[in-house]
């Protein structure tokens, strides 16, 4: 656990250097939250009752989803780091460390995420509560389950990102794949549009894919769209995916390591 804390400290040192970027991120997070707030307000005036939940719930869902963008942005995951290390050949310097590569990437990414959670998501959420009518969690139990669910969601996203990073070991470049992947994640995770608004077969598909672990389940728990047994089902669904994906990551890495080619000298 110590190592997770060390990487968080390192992320702090790393990011503290680019203060301007930090403020830009905070401002852009707030702008996105504000847009979502207005979109739902307008849609609810046009067609009240068409979206399955109260306006307050929907705004809370949408605004928190936007605040979480700064930690869940698939463009900043471990796959980008792995891909750039592979491209420059610097992956050696990661492999000479006495760390399991998969856990090393997790610790490193978790460090960065915790740092951004504390410095961007929390302040952004605070602004949301003050100015954008954010509601507290539906019940105390929902709040607690939300925290657990968010962590599980993070692990699912990390694993998917890591697997994409493994693709980059073989193809060297993943920029074009990454773009498609990012849109897929955002769409099927229900970041912009909650999954319960998806029509028929699309909703069915989204319901079995692992992406909904990232935004949809935690946020549905938070706003109380899921209650009682449904909360436990959601958490179980996430836990199963975490276990499966973690195992797949470890298998794939073992295979990839034996085929690894290091670029340059």
């Amino acid at each position: 656990m110590n190592i997770f804390w060390s990487f968080t400290r390192q992320a702090f040192h790393n990011t503290a250097i680019y203060r301007f970027e930090y403020w830009l991120q905070l401002v852009s997070a707030f702008l996105m939250m504000y847009s979502v707030y207005w979109i739902w307000n307008i849609l609810y005036t046009q067609r009240p009752g068409a979206f399955g939940v109260e306006l307050g719930q929907m705004v809370t869902y949408g605004v928190i989803a936007m605040a979480l963008e700064s930690i869940f942005n698939p463009g900043q995951g471990p796959q980008m780091y792995i891909s750039s290390q592979i491209k420059s050949g610097s992956i050696d310097t990661d492999l000479i460390k006495p760390l399991d590569f998969h856990l090393h990437m997790l610790a490193k990414n978790f460090g960065e995420i915790s740092f951004r959670f504390g410095t961007i998501v929390l302040p952004a959420a605070l602004i949301g509560f003050l100015f954008l009518d954010l509601q507290p969690p539906a019940t105390a139990l929902n709040g607690l389950s939300f925290a657990v669910s968010l962590t599980l969601g993070y692990l699912v996203l990390f694993s998917l990102n890591f697997l994409l990073g493994m693709v980059s070991v073989l193809t060297i470049d993943i920029r074009s794949i990454a773009w498609t992947y990012n849109s897929l994640v955002r769409f099927f995770a229900g970041q912009m549009v909650p999954l319960w608004l998806f029509p028929g077969w699309l909703g069915g598909l989204a319901n079995v894919l692992p992406f909904k672990c990232i935004y949809s389940i935690p946020l549905s728990i938070y706003i109380g769209k899921l209650t009682g047994a449904a909360v436990w089902e959601g958490l179980l669904f996430q836990a199963v995916w975490v276990v499966v994906l973690m195992a797949v990551c470890r298998l794939v890495w073992a295979g990839v390591h034996s085929k690894l080619v290091v670029q340059g000298g």
């Binding site: 190592i3 990487f7 040192h13 992956i91 050696d92 006495p98 000298g265």
Partner: protein, 330 residues
Amino acid sequence: MIRVEHLVKEYKQSKRKDGPFSAIRTLFSADFVVKRAVNDISFTIDEGELVGYIGPNGAGKSTSIKMLTGILVPTSGIVEVNGIVPYKNRKEHARQIGVVFGQKTQLWWDVPVIDSLRLLKDIYKVPDALYKRNLDLFCDLIELHQFQNTPVRQLSLGQRMRADLAAALIHSPKILFLDEPTIGVDVVAKDRLRTFIKEINRDQKVTVLLTTHDMGDIEKLCSRMMIIDRGEVIYDGDIELIRRKYGEYRTLVVQFERPIADFDVAGAELVKSEGTKKWFRFNRNEASPSELITQIGARFPITDLTVEEPEIEEMVRSIYEGKSVDAKVV
């Protein structure tokens, strides 16, 4: 300490297609050529040795180092370092070795050196006392304190290399792998790096395997040298022997006013002639450059001249072509 037997590493290299739409066709099916980077090499290195590992670019030096450090998995053969098979127990192995890649840095680019060292301390679980002792040692030997608070991206190359050495040694490893540790570094900084490596080897009994293109590194540091070319070890043995045999030749390059016919000079051999330039090879124990210059200058007007020292690559080539230096040749 290090045992390598019949080690082989093959790469699959994708081959580009020729002809129309080659780039598009490559997307659908790729042809591969198998390239043998390391071809059946064997050697052992004892504890406390400081061995130079040299050879031309693409000879397979870095690939072997990467197999010894557990980064690459060999195609076949045995690698064992201090009883550990690197690629099987990479984590455990990483604790007992230190690695410096001259061309890359393992330090975090944006943060001060000391922050990187602190993170490495946590990663390697270095006890506080040892960490402090090592930092003191680095301050003494490579003046770490002068740049420990500077971000890595602002360091000079010489400083960065010292910082990387410090990073590789922070956990007091038993074995140190140095892949071109003096590349691109100026003379003064080079000297400092060499002294440091030498002292670490002597005082802390760290076994060192070093690759380089700089004959100076080998001369100043190593007693034993291994030469690798085209994936094979072609020489493994005493450095004195090879230096006596090949290191004593110099080449005198003379530029004349106008093109002249080839001629003989006592004590030197004409090896190349091109336009107004001629190359004379001589043994520095048998002839002195000043004598040669007087001799040549007396006959033809000279406009410019230089004396070239043999490059490692040249020695390697002469060994490779000759293939027999002594009975010691593998």
